[in-house]
């Protein structure tokens, strides 16, 4: 799972009012290179919750993102390169996502978060 997905995911447990952002427990992180597409980055930027994104990247060992970002940065190649790397190239391979309200853990294995709920959580 990449941080793109982490930034969109929220805990879906019944009764939870603010399930975003899920905390990350990282056991294994891998990096995979992908081609950079600036159109995609510029388009998705407005949908990214920046603070949680920066926090998540740090948890996965990448701390080069600026603490604050606005769309004027999208003209900077240096910024785009970092944004691209953090968003699409770092994968949480093993570990867990943790619901911020209930502390319920969603295990991540082989890069796949298990988001299945128990019957009493639906």
């Amino acid at each position: 799972m990449r941080l793109l997905t982490h930034n969109m995911l929220s805990s879906n447990i019944k009764g939870v009012t603010n399930g975003f952002p899920l905390k990350i427990e990282a056991e294994k992180v891998v990096e995979k290179e992908v081609d950079m597409n600036t159109d995609f980055l510029k388009n998705i930027f407005s949908k990214i919750e920046w603070k949680p994104f920066v926090e998540a990247a740090k948890t996965l060992g990448f701390s080069e993102l600026p603490e604050d970002a606005d769309s004027s940065l999208l003209d900077s190649h240096e910024f785009l390169t970092k944004f691209h790397h953090a968003l699409l190239e770092i994968h949480l391979e093993e570990g867990a996502l943790v619901c911020p309200e209930t502390e319920r853990k969603f295990p991540v294995s082989k890069g796949i978060p298990n988001m299945l709920l128990h019957e009493d959580e639906v």
Binding site: M1, R2, L4, T5, N7, M8, L9, S10, S11, N12, G19, F20, V34, N37, D39, F40, N43, I44, K47, E49, L88, K110, G111, I112, P113, N114, M115, L116, L117, E119, V122
Partner: protein
């Protein structure tokens, strides 16, 4: 003919390792998944600006459908309830992110962040109650409600489905409409029992003026008639599309006058006092031609 998979076992059991294998070994399955997902992507009608979008693949399975999204440059998140299917997707090194999740429990995404969703042959699974706690209506409601919330306004979801019967189609479509979606059903190859394929084309928010939006017919916007003879010129190309043949209205079969006609005739005869067989479900049914 083999029984419908939905009637054999819950999806996470049916799509076991050996079933999942077929998604790497059967060229027929691979070919079908590719065709269906290409068509679904086409029906999504994303802006033609070359910008890659963030899409969902619901019931992404082995990632064949997702590969179509990647080939077209898009980023995607796939979710599926079957671990065995997702394992195949991992093996295939798909470019999208994968989630083990049950769409019937609702999708856990933030509001308005997804640019479009496709689903290939998966949503009809929600019509089955595989556990005592499963109530198809509630699961469909959770699914469509959460899908609606996660989509950006004006975004579309294109769901290729195999409803078992009319009631299931209505159940699925009705749940989508109650969640706020506008849209209807697009049927490809409606005249072929083998290649006939149904796509629910749903738009989040008010229906756009885009001519490609399949206009739903009927006052509640729910029932999209698939009956050719009722299609008026404005609605027909969008509600139903037949990619094979030029459209023509269904010709009235000269020999059979239809059930209504038979029932009316019988009523007339009854009023005249003749003895007429009772009306049953067999009345005016199609009969095999004999030689």
């Amino acid at each position: 003919m083999a029984a419908r998979p939905e009637l054999q076992a819950p999806p996470e059991i049916f799509y076991d390792q050996s079933e999942a294998r077929k998604y790497t070994s059967s060229s027929r399955i691979i070919d079908i998944q590719a065709k269906l997902s290409e068509r679904a992507l086409e029906l999504l009608a994303l802006p033609d600006d070359g910008v890659p979008r963030l899409l969902l693949d619901i019931g992404c399975g082995s990632g064949l459908s997702g590969e179509t999204l990647s080939e077209n440059g898009h980023q995607w998140i796939g979710l599926d309830i079957s671990e065995a299917m997702l394992d195949v997707a991992v093996e295939r090194e798909v470019e999208g992110d994968l989630l083990l999740a049950d769409m019937g429990q609702g999708l856990g995404f933030r509001a308005g962040v997804i640019d479009g969703a496709i689903s290939i042959s998966a949503v009809q699974w929600l019509c089955n109650a595989d556990k005592s706690s499963h109530e198809p209506r509630l699961r469909l409601k959770a699914f469509f409600g959460s899908l609606y919330r996660s989509l950006a306004r004006g975004a579309r979801a294109v769901l290729q489905v195999y409803p078992q019967n009319v009631a299931q189609r209505e159940l699925i479509l009705g749940s989508a409409m109650r969640a706020g979606f506008a849209g209807g059903v697009v049927v490809d190859y409606p005249h072929s029992s083998k290649s006939r394929k149904e796509y629910l084309v749903l738009t989040c928010g008010p229906p756009s003026l885009n001519a490609a939006v399949p206009n739903a017919k009927g006052e509640d916007g729910m029932s999209c008639s698939e009956d050719d003879s009722s299609g008026d010129e404005e609605n027909q190309t969008v509600t139903i599309s037949d990619r094979n043949r030029p459209r023509k209205k269904r010709k009235l079969d000269k020999k059979s006058k239809g059930k209504d006609w038979v029932l009316r005739k019988k009523e007339q005869l009854r009023r005249k006092g003749s003895s007429v067989p009772a009306d049953t479900k067999y009345t005016a049914r199609k009969r095999k031609s004999r030689f």
